[in-house]
Symmetry: D2
Subunit: 180 residues, 4 copies
Amino acid sequence: MALKATIVVGNPKPKSRTLKVAETLIEKLLAPGSYELEIIDLADHAAEIFAWPSEKMAALNNRVAESDLAVFASPTYKASYTGLLKAFLDRYPMNGLTGVTAIPVHTGGDLTHAMGPTVNLAPLLVELGAVVPGRGFYFVADQMDRLDEAVAQAAAEYTANLTRLAQVATATASLSTPVA
Amino acid sequence: MALKATIVVGNPKPKSRTLKVAETLIEKLLAPGSYELEIIDLADHAAEIFAWPSEKMAALNNRVAESDLAVFASPTYKASYTGLLKAFLDRYPMNGLTGVTAIPVHTGGDLTHAMGPTVNLAPLLVELGAVVPGRGFYFVADQMDRLDEAVAQAAAEYTANLTRLAQVATATASLSTPVA
Amino acid sequence: MALKATIVVGNPKPKSRTLKVAETLIEKLLAPGSYELEIIDLADHAAEIFAWPSEKMAALNNRVAESDLAVFASPTYKASYTGLLKAFLDRYPMNGLTGVTAIPVHTGGDLTHAMGPTVNLAPLLVELGAVVPGRGFYFVADQMDRLDEAVAQAAAEYTANLTRLAQVATATASLSTPVA
Amino acid sequence: MALKATIVVGNPKPKSRTLKVAETLIEKLLAPGSYELEIIDLADHAAEIFAWPSEKMAALNNRVAESDLAVFASPTYKASYTGLLKAFLDRYPMNGLTGVTAIPVHTGGDLTHAMGPTVNLAPLLVELGAVVPGRGFYFVADQMDRLDEAVAQAAAEYTANLTRLAQVATATASLSTPVA
């Protein structure tokens, strides 16, 4: 069965470089044909992001929550994720992203805010019940010619981390095996 | 092959309740007989923690780094992990905990600093290359009669998270399979 | 000349208890008659918060930036400030709150996220150039009968902090005195 | 009366560039002759930092707590302050730095961890009751030829911030004036 992958982009401007970074990360991380990808560009939904209730927004929230893997990508605004991304995540109830493997991605002008995805976005996703398989990924937005190389390195790290986690999972999962 | 599990306790006082919390977490998380456990109570090593070089400290650091699963447990000092724990972690080179699945644990007097393991200790472990499979675990230290219940709930959450991560790992790992 | 004080409330619901907490803080902190107060309830502006450009939003941003003292108050959403408040702050250019003394306030259901205003909202305000004169203020929202007492204590602490800062200011300000 | 200024350096190696950065900051921030300066290089006290009780350490802690202005300077270890500095701060009781104006300083190899003093060290000092008059100061350690320029800019910002805070202090202090 295909893995369900989702990209959520928190840039108020649509079709941003931040989206491109997230797409490249998914391409490097997952084997072609092994997954279905949905892209949610929040710039397309800003007008409805504070509407409550909203069937349309609820449907978007649900599709992300049902993902196996989700990349949450935001430009750096004030050293952190955007209000647009936070407003989308605020719509979830407690533990709304339980079961989702989530990768936090920030883009920025230079390295000054490189800690952002690890210290700001990762704890937010974890608070919602998601699991973050390693460091957040930060990319200096005007180095798009180095994108493939940087993303390949990050993807290799996530893959190695996930493989190790799978080994630990085997030991813990045995707990739930009923004793005959 | 047995899983290698390690507990690192950052309490300057030995044999603390913080150690007891970490031990209980390992017991609930891993199946009996499936793992080897080593306990490093940093209170026993405070006199040498700033010695450089130190064969003894290097050996301790190495054993943690070779663990499959490590619980890093600290009482809450000034809303964060102790200086003793940080001093031990400072001895690692960059990415010194790569490949380790790490669970951050804080104990404290009440809920005021409950965010500590998630916003302070987890990012520190991630910076060292470890992967944290979910929220940090915070336990109010004078509720030891509720320890089993609270730990069982946390362990169930980590187990569920690890199981999901293993599923994602399958999809990413396939990337490295050579196409015949 | 009267001090210019502003309250910015990031609750998507208008006239919230969070607003009441902020108002009480201003009342306890400043002497009656010594200040002019403006209240910006962002719930009233959610529809325009992502509009760009927007004369109305720019006017709001400017009035906060020209304040001597501003209270930024948010309910706790996902252990942090709301996306609505972040979206408002995202509209500022770099250093857009320079010269503003800012007090971060979070309300929440219990103490679990009490660190929020200090570790999440305060660094955000500081990133914008504001100065935060002490800890963030966290208030458990269903203890409104204890509001006066809790706010009085916080206000006394801010006042003491500001008085001390004024003493240090005297020493540093002398640097800019031309030598005759 | 002279301002009491203190520098606390958390580098396990004595006489570090981190100390030099802190000294330069004090020189740019305070007028010559307006202050007394004490320097506490924690490298000289590492052997006793976990001793409890310790008259010598208590005396050091007290002198910092009695300072009007204190610079806490640390090299970046694992994206944060050192365990040595944290161990020193851990010795304080709750609110042990009340009344101290504190400036957090980190040095590091490049900009990757530039957020450290603002998101890690500043909240720690605030937790102890200190007030941080603005952003943390981060300095790339191998740019010592640019030290004067960078420090002068930071000092000017702190001075401007303190001057503004003094104005707000005047309004709040009036609260305690008895009505005739």
